[in-house]
């Protein structure tokens, strides 16, 4: 899966997981911050995304300090998944 394909997939999954009813995938800028500004997500959403990563991609974030960098945008999330996903 290419980075762009994964970004598109992640957008759909985030909308579903966080119940962002008013958002469409094309509304989400892959480089915009997910938290604070941009989508305006909060700490509970961060936990939901952590569950999503583990459930859908088998990836656990071992070092919570890394979270800020990984969860910065949809693109950084996609890059983290591509770097850490174990081959099927």
């Amino acid at each position: 899966m290419t980075e762009q394909e994964l970004i598109d997939k992640l957008k759909e999954e985030i909308i579903k997981q966080l119940n962002l009813e008013d958002q469409k995938p094309e509304d989400i800028d892959p480089d915009a911050p997910l938290f604070g500004e941009g989508l305006g997500l909060d700490s509970i959403d961060a936990l939901e995304i952590m569950v999503l990563l583990e459930k859908n991609y088998g990836i656990k974030i071992e070092d919570p300090k890394e979270g800020k960098k990984i969860f910065f945008s949809v693109r950084t999330l996609a890059q983290f998944i591509l770097e850490n996903q174990k081959p099927a």
């Binding site: 997981q17 966080l18 119940n19 962002l20 009813e21 008013d22 305006g40 509970i44 936990l47 939901e48 569950v51 583990e54 459930k55």
Partner: protein
């Protein structure tokens, strides 16, 4: 002792009751085996960013709470009290299912956070930034009435001047399936509006949310005066109820013939409905009577729908079509007595008077 007035109401039910200043033009007849609420567009009432995390029963509860306050012209109640029988069953079902599917790992935090029964009361308090008394009662068929009793005590003791009280229950798939296994439900054979007359063992479930703003201050738009509330647990025989009603009326300086209308909780199960027949014949023979559960179905806090109906009757000064029993039309309605019970165990008497 302070008199208590109902100054604001709001109700989401299987009927068109929400944001309706009058009775619906006609009652909705359901052909399915349960009655579901006719829900409003929640983002018109709750911030969508917040609403996305809330389960259906919380959205129902918060919405009726906010609109009841608006109806009363009250911004900040001095107590928030909720009664719920099922509470957060919806979120609990989601957690348990996720635990089962994921081998007890990867549980979504949102459902966990919302999964305590006091979520509605606390969510209302957070939205209003209300730091006053906050409580939730989960006592099956006494859930709403326990909340109501708590509010009445607070108001009468002078500890609060206004209280927001609600009864909220939403039917869930898991609850329906579980209770179907123990034959709690019966099939809806001839439409929900004929639920009372088309009798059979078991009940047809429903759901709803209703909130009330109670106050010691009477306003120009007060619906009714809430005179008395009596809860009777597992009475040995029907005479215990007539004794309780006689004492309740006596305490208010009333006689049975002073009651203009009785509102009963028939649900079409003969075993439960006999309580109402005995009660009526013993003390209120000839008094006009009405029922309401064919409009909302049976659920733990259906008494909140009864209080909404009673409040509307008192405010409008008339009984809507389709709820009277054979006794005929009620005349001038000065005093209304609600008598309802839950599975023959939890019996409630509630007296309202015109303001």
């Amino acid at each position: 002792m302070s008199e208590i007035f109902i100054n604001g109401i709001s109700c989401i039910s299987p009927q068109e009751t929400f944001n309706n200043s009058d009775f619906p033009a006609e009652w909705t007849d359901y052909s399915g085996d349960f009655l579901s609420c006719r829900e409003p567009v929640y983002k018109d009432h709750i911030n969508p960013t917040l609403a996305r995390r809330l389960s259906r029963y919380i959205k129902m509860g918060v919405t009726t709470a906010l609109t009841a306050l608006k109806d009363a012209g009250t911004e900040m109640p001095e107590a928030i009290i909720t009664g719920t029988g099922l509470g957060s069953t919806e979120d609990n079902e989601k957690i348990l299912l996720a635990m089962h599917e994921n081998q007890e790992r990867m549980i979504n935090p949102t459902h966990f956070i919302q999964s305590t029964h006091n979520t509605i009361s606390s969510q209302i308090a957070i939205m209003l930034k209300c730091h006053h008394y906050n409580n939730t009662y989960v006592h099956r068929g006494f859930s709403f009435e326990s909340a109501l009793l708590d509010a009445m005590l607070l108001l009468r003791e002078g500890r609060s001047r206004t209280a927001l009280v609600g009864g909220v229950d939403a039917l869930t798939e898991g609850h329906y399936i579980n209770y179907e296994r123990i034959s709690r439900w019966r099939r809806n054979r001839s439409g929900s509006l004929k639920m009372i007359t088309d009798q059979g063992k078991g009940v047809i479930p429903g759901e709803g949310s209703a909130h009330f703003v109670l106050s010691t201050d009477k306003t120009e738009t007060s619906y009714a005066s809430l005179k008395a509330l009596k809860l009777v647990y597992k009475p040995a025989e029907p005479a215990a109820l007539t004794d309780a009603a006689s004492n309740l009326l006596k305490d208010g300086g009333l006689l049975p013939q002073d009651i203009s209308l009785l509102l009963y909780g028939h649900n079409g199960d003969p075993e439960g409905d006999r309580w109402y027949q005995d009660f009526h014949q013993s003390l209120f023979c000839g008094t006009p009577s009405a029922y309401y559960k064919h409009l909302c179905g049976e659920y733990d806090t259906a008494g909140a729908f009864a209080l909404w109906m009673a409040s509307m009757i008192m405010r409008r000064g008339r009984v809507p079509s389709g709820i009277m029993t054979k006794e005929g039309a009620a005349g001038d309605i000065r005093h209304l007595l609600i008598y309802t019970h839950h599975r023959g165990d939890q019996h409630v008497l509630c007296l309202l008077s015109r303001v």
